[in-house]
Assembly symmetry: C2
Homo-oligomer: 434 residues x 2
Amino acid sequence: MKRLSTADPTFESHFTALLDEARETTARVDAAVAAIIAEVRERGDAALVDFTARFDRWTPVDAAALRVTQAEIDAADASIRPELRDALNLAADRIEAFHRAQLPTDLEMKDAAGLTLGMRWGAIDAVGLYVPGGKAAYPSSVLMNAIPARAAGVPRIAMCVPTPDGVLNPLVLAAAKRAGVTEVFRIGGAQAVAAMAWGTAQIIPVDRIVGPGNAYVAEAKRQVFGRVGIDSIAGPSEVVVIADGACDPRHVALDLLAQAEHDESAQSILITPDAALADAVAAAVEAELRHLPRAAIAGESWRRHGAVILVKGLEEAAALTNRLAPEHLQLMVDDPRALLAQVRHAGAAFLGRYTPEAVGDYVAGPNHVLPTGRTARFASGLSVFDFLKRTTWVEADKAALEAVGPAAVALADAEGLGAHGRSIAIRLGQTGRP
Amino acid sequence: MKRLSTADPTFESHFTALLDEARETTARVDAAVAAIIAEVRERGDAALVDFTARFDRWTPVDAAALRVTQAEIDAADASIRPELRDALNLAADRIEAFHRAQLPTDLEMKDAAGLTLGMRWGAIDAVGLYVPGGKAAYPSSVLMNAIPARAAGVPRIAMCVPTPDGVLNPLVLAAAKRAGVTEVFRIGGAQAVAAMAWGTAQIIPVDRIVGPGNAYVAEAKRQVFGRVGIDSIAGPSEVVVIADGACDPRHVALDLLAQAEHDESAQSILITPDAALADAVAAAVEAELRHLPRAAIAGESWRRHGAVILVKGLEEAAALTNRLAPEHLQLMVDDPRALLAQVRHAGAAFLGRYTPEAVGDYVAGPNHVLPTGRTARFASGLSVFDFLKRTTWVEADKAALEAVGPAAVALADAEGLGAHGRSIAIRLGQTGRP
């Protein structure tokens, strides 16, 4: 963990180093992924069966075995403990309510020139959701990726999840059922992305693919981009906690560690004007680390990428936060709304001392798929907007065209686009040759 | 030009071939672009001077000469003919009014569990606009790219435009002045994209880069993506015109040719239930081609990629349009709104017989930067949303956390994330070790 203080004359260089810290090295898998995609395009379901046998340590008897049946989904759901079923239902309902509230309204306006202008929102026809298998198979991610699509009105949501050794994760299937996923395939890796983008005999192609994955999945999404839409490719997770001296250091420490336990590349940063809190939190982190199931990962993240920054006041904390543009931001201060008003860049904010970030990972309602690695400067969390697209429209009659057409003709002529100008002029009876 | 009819038993294979037609071959310039970006990162402004001398046939006396001065912008603006100045003003005002109407509102909701949830829109700090030089230097594109950024509230809009042989395009500068561009650099190609993404001594880096460009510019945008946001990389332009027998064939022909004259890879498709109109439009295209300044380009596009599709009725026309998902769609029929309601996928629609697409290219108000190549299935035209990002937020007190926290703890435990659960449990006084 690094300790920085804005009172230190060398602060700026240390802070810049923190900003530029590369927390991830990406393996080059371009060629391997291109080969997988080409084979899925050529051989379809047969290639999916072969890749599954090779990578997932189980051999589907045929292509149909790649589809998870409704009976399997229902059985998985029935196997869930009641307490977990209730938790999934609560989370799904709250996520759905928040994302429905995001739904935008269409626009229609008639202006002084007599033109009617509009903008209409519509849902994508079909979305593909990639869900990682193994240790990172998070039911909460299924809810967070699929429910906004359903709230947007997407009629078809296909999901691919690898099942290493043939083992289905019942919580993932239960989440898919609640989130409105319409079809589930037990396929992983680049081959799953290829199948959803290009289609096979069994899998109808989708229009957009979302969801996290390993380097192969991320590269496959890059390679099919254009054919289909993709979401942004997430980097390691991060949190900035701004806390004042009135905070319980153990609360702050656990919030930092909740981020750190995701993976060794995660980053947790405390910014505080209170030197005593800084010391107490640092001590509490070490104390809590002794008890956590993922202490090895969390400890490694904290040692490598953690930071405690001492500032002169909250205004300075907000200014540094704007340069960090963190994925998650906790504002554990007396007036968190006033502080939020000074923050321009953050994926998601958690206000006050009783809103730990973890509540947002599961049940608060807003999405937990958020922009990482300082991209909150220009990017946003997943939302219904990722599953909607806009069609703008214009309607003119002859009088309206007379009002604005001559300006368009002048500009078209200046750009040397004769047919553009003439397509307007001829409607206005200006039929002389240009 | 191809002629298809849905009455033909082989229609489906011909239409599928039309859908799959690749209209563009992309040159592989990855390595050349990577080298340019590396040199700009290493040598900054000096590299920009060298690349400009090498590629743009003029040698800046120093790095400062790469910046277009306010005096140059004002002089360019003063040199514009009054008719064109009026046209630019009309276009800018109308584009601004429409994009301001797009501005979304923030969300705040308190729910039954006592949590307050919100979503706040904010503008990106700085945007870079790339404007091609030479023949494709369109002032209308400057307006269409920059005005939505200004309407969104972006305080800094930097523009890069190459000036081959050192010649500034006065209309482009006049458009930049009206569109709220805050700084203009006479730099082109991959080096301009690199400079805007990474910054130099003279150019402060931006957060998002938009605007069209050649293969080098497109590849540079791909390579800096992640460091900054980018817009989608546009392919060749296209239009679908649905017209009934009551249309003037010359109007339809000119609308098809207005698309075709953009470039040889553009595509113009007429869909009509009226065989006589199909014949008359085909003839009118040939007649009009004799007179157009860009007849060679438009003719080549029409011969290579043009199509006339005869359908049984408008419902079939809408169904085919949904498979084509065109960038531009003209609905030249009696009830265009009813037909639009059947169309799910189109970048922009133009309703009725007096709304040629060209009016939307310049003055209607909606954006002319639109999804091409069937990507309207999942993508949208440029808008204020490209220059805004969202921060979601959650505020809970202890009672609210008591209401939803246990469900989050259950899910965190199921996912094996101990610190997540404990960060909530400790706030609820459940301090026993897990």
